[in-house]
Amino acid sequence: MMKELSLHILDIAENSVNADANTVSINIEEDSRKNLLNIIIQDDGKGMDSEMLRMVTDPFITTRTTRKVGLGIPFLKEAAEACNGQFSITSQPGKGTCVESSFQRDHIDRMPMGAIQNTFLDLLVGFPDVHWIFKYRIDEEEFDLDSEPIHKTLDGIPLSDPAVLKYLKNEIENGIKRVQRK
């Protein structure tokens, strides 16, 4: 269904927003020596109880009255497990949710990261009220982006202002390029 890890990341992050999270952190780490790729998405949203938690990982059980339970989580779980990886989701009502997935980095079925720069930019601009903390690391090289100082500096100028968009796009694209340089 989804051909890039960065699309899965976008999808899971949307869940966090829908769970009324104030802060969402996305942490991607690739380790070439350990041959691992980890993705951790953590939020402080309303969380889930154990019953709901069981439902969101099973694509064939759904309450589907308000369409709160989608296919996004089972998709990512399947993708990770197909690559000798692991998937876990932990959640506490009122505290938040953490979705962790790992992949064997050089596994033949491991999806490419894809346009992670677009995922970051879309989330940042599309949900200006959420505090985003992005981290993307490959071995020693790391890119960090925190939305808070950006909003503070802009002081009321929206992220969808053309000049701001240009700045953000460059900043994110260059950062990702630097990390992926090897």
């Binding site: 976008l10 949307e14 677009n118 599309g126 100028i157 929206p158």
Partner: protein, 122 residues
């Protein structure tokens, strides 16, 4: 990356934006909403949003708010894009690929003409 420098750059961007804002008087604000549920993402909504942001940037369109929403129950019409132009009623578009998105921004958001062949009747 030197973060302090980078935020200084952003400060300059802010000042430029403020300057432009005072020159171009309020020209009817618009809100563009993109459906980013699992269904939307799987249908290519991220590329639609990229096209919207790229167009705003390249055409220097001021005063446009771009946000996202989840699944609105029209999965078969995804990617979905909605436009609220000033006080006008919300228009919902379906099957909005990057090319259609550009058309909507140009013809509807800029010029006020609804792109009829992609309207979804709710």
């Amino acid at each position: 990356m030197n973060k302090i420098n980078s935020l200084d750059d952003l400060k300059r961007v802010r000042e430029e934006a403020l300057e432009k804002r005072s020159k171009t008087a309020v020209s009817g604000k618009a809100h563009v909403i993109i459906g980013m549920g699992t269904c939307g993402i799987a249908a290519g909504a991220r590329e639609t949003m990229k096209a919207v942001l790229d167009y705003i940037e390249s055409e220097k369109m001021e005063g446009i708010l771009v946000t996202q929403t989840g699944c609105i129950g029209l999965c078969e019409q995804e990617p979905i894009l909605q436009v609220v132009r000033g006080d006008e009623e919300k228009v919902t578009y379906g099957k909005v690929d990057p090319e259609v998105a550009k058309r909507i921004l140009k013809e509807h958001v800029s010029d006020g003409k609804i792109v009829k062949d992609h309207v979804v009747n709710l």
